[in-house]
């Protein structure tokens, strides 16, 4: 009995700042490093990829990674069912994953923050209306909506980004609204209002900057989500279309070879997981550093 009390009390009282900071910075450094590597690999894919990612070499199809018996040194991670180099395809696939993810987050951030600001700041009917729209988008299974829309409009890069943004903006709207509700009651806002600031100026100069912290944190965590989302659409055949290599497509290809060629699905999955892990670590660290009270 006394043991668990002392442990719990110690947890409350102990000045744990030093070890905590060390652990946090490890998370940040790890996340940033992985992310920079992935980003760099995506940007410089044409320079560093050993092969053209779409080049088919049927003589060398389904070769395992180079450390296995039938592996070839020129294909470090093996080749797929059409004899394409997996490493090169992963490098190029990063461009789609990160590019689409970043664009979709930016767009959904723009939509969500705007609507969240309006809802929180104006309150009343505007707020009620926007929040019901938020509820509607929460209720609809976004992946089905996205699939239906992409299928109807055609799976182009732009359509995929648009659909992803339109189905995820609610995350931003909710957190911004909640923040603005409390910010607008603060003294500096009434002060600015008393000085005769117009609404728009008030919003952009006084309210928005104070709501920036949660926006940054949500944007980071949403980036991780969007990367998974994009590859899920790809996996289901409704993402960016072949021959453009994407991680989701590679996984989907690999699905048919799970029993015979494990490397087809394993490496692109690993790439997704590492990237998402890095972004999440960064997001957690940002939240703990910028605003520990934030619940996202």
């Amino acid at each position: 009995m006394s043991e668990s009390v002392s442990v719990a009390v110690a947890a409350d009282v102990r000045p744990s700042a030093a070890p905590l900071r060390r652990r946090l910075s490890f998370r940040a450094v790890f996340g940033l490093t992985v992310l920079l590597c992935m980003g760099g690999a995506a940007v410089f894919a044409p320079q560093i990829a050993p092969w053209d990612p779409t080049r088919q070499m049927l003589m060398k199809r389904l070769r395992p990674p180079m450390w296995e018996a039938r592996g070839l040194r020129e294909h470090p991670l093996g080749t797929d069912h059409l004899g394409r180099d997996i490493l090169s395809r992963i490098l190029y696939g990063g461009r789609i994953s990160l590019g689409v993810g970043l664009s979709a987050v930016s767009l959904s951030c723009l939509i969500g923050v705007t609507l969240g600001l309006l809802a929180g700041f104006h309150g009343g009917r505007t707020d009620a209306f926007i929040m019901r729209v938020v509820d509607v988008f929460l209720a609809i299974p976004y992946i089905l909506l996205a699939m239906g829309v992409v299928f109807a409009l055609g799976p182009s890069l732009l359509n995929v980004i648009l659909v992803m943004a339109v189905t995820r903006w609610v995350q931003f709207a909710r957190i911004v609204r909640a923040d603005v509700l409390s910010i607008r009651e603060r003294e500096f806002v009434s002060g600015a209002r008393a000085r005769g600031s117009r609404s728009l100026r008030l919003l952009l100069r006084h309210v928005l900057p104070n709501a920036l912290t949660p926006i940054i944190v949500v944007a980071t965590l949403e980036l991780a989500f969007m990367i998974i989302y994009e590859s899920a659409l790809s996996f289901l055949g409704l993402g960016v279309q072949p021959p453009t290599p994407t991680w989701g497509w590679m996984l989907s290809d690999g699905r048919n070879y799970v029993a015979t060629a494990w490397w087809l699905a394993t490496f692109p999955g690993l790439a997704i997981m590492l990237t998402v892990l890095a972004v999440n670590l960064l997001g957690d660290w940002l939240r703990d550093t910028l605003d520990p009270r934030l619940k996202v």
Partner: protein
């Protein structure tokens, strides 16, 4: 209390109305629904005939009202592919999906809640570290990849469990694990932070100070209060799981609504797609309504807070 319940009911109805607009709009996305419904090489007179048949020449709002009045009665039309009412197909596949989501959610709760609590009670310990790593991995693993890995290891290599289909309890294990992993990570995280928050409250400190036994403090005072926010999360998580079921069912050839939906989308079976989206959204709204009402029962303060929002 009653006014809160009433308001919450009206809100749910409004949300369902919004859902119906989006579901209706799904068919009108490209401007002309006949282009979605008919094959590209359809003849001009077929197009005209279908337009007349579906009443597509009426003003949009007339079409919407007609759609809505049918939808309320559960009539979304015949599935193009199967030539039976879309709703019938949903009711045939829904049990499988509910079974899968319930198993996934149940698994997530059974693992995540104790893990989160232990991690909170033994903060910064080895167990806490293991839990954090599990949470990080669980949140970073895409469900389709986890599914493939599970098949690779447990079905292909070890032959312990079936890789696909729905026959018996054994076939439920892998899909449920794949589906539940992400929620497991999130719930464990919430349980941990919720427990830490409650443990830092004054009444916990007071209880300890006056000498209430540690066991009682943890399990009676703290745990009960930490459990309350979890109720809402379970409702929201159910929506996440329904969405995840679409992918999980595709991977494991699980005969549920998700797989039906994917199939319907690829065969341009729009009445079926509309019906499924509307059904799942309705289910989500109802479950969250129930969870919210349960929440107010567990924590009456919430009515006051929300009434003044």
């Amino acid at each position: 209390m009653l006014s809160y319940v009433l308001r919450r009911l009206v809100q749910s109805l409004v949300v369902l109305l919004g859902v119906s607009i989006i579901v209706f709009g799904l068919l009108h996305l490209t401007g002309d629904p006949t282009r979605l419904l008919l094959p590209l090489e359809a003849r001009e007179e077929d197009v005209r005939q279908l337009r007349a048949l579906l009443g597509l020449d009426d003003p949009l709002w007339v079409q919407y009202l007609r759609f809505l009045s049918r939808a309320v009665r559960g009539d979304f039309g015949l599935s193009f592919k199967h030539q039976v009412p879309a709703v019938t197909l949903i009711f045939q596949t829904l049990p499988a999906t509910l079974e899968l989501t319930a198993a996934g959610l149940g698994l997530a709760l059974v693992v995540a809640v104790p893990a989160g609590i232990v991690a909170a009670l033994r903060r910064n310990s080895f167990i806490d570290a293991v839990c954090s790593i599990g949470v990080l991995l669980g949140q970073a693993m895409p469900v389709y990849w986890l599914g493939l890995l599970l098949i690779l290891v447990f079905a292909v290599k070890l032959h312990w469990l079936p890789a696909a289909g729905r026959e018996g309890l054994a076939s439920l294990v892998l899909p449920a694990v794949a589906l539940g992993a992400f929620s497991m990570a999130r719930i464990a995280r919430m349980a941990r932070s919720g427990m830490l928050e409650v443990l830092a409250q004054d009444y916990v400190r007071t209880a300890r100070a006056v000498g209430v036994r540690a066991f009682l403090v943890t399990y009676k005072y703290a745990l009960k209060n930490a459990a309350i926010p979890l109720v809402t999360i379970v409702g929201l998580e159910f929506g996440v799981l329904l969405g995840g079921a679409v992918i999980t069912e595709t991977i494991f050839a699980w005969p549920g609504v998700g797989r039906l939906a994917v199939d319907a989308i690829f065969s341009r079976d729009y009445p079926l797609v509309q019906a499924i989206v509307a059904m799942l959204a309705t289910l989500f709204v109802l479950i969250n309504l129930a969870m919210d009402l349960l929440y107010t029962y567990l924590d009456p303060r919430i009515v006051l807070v929300r009434s003044h929002r």
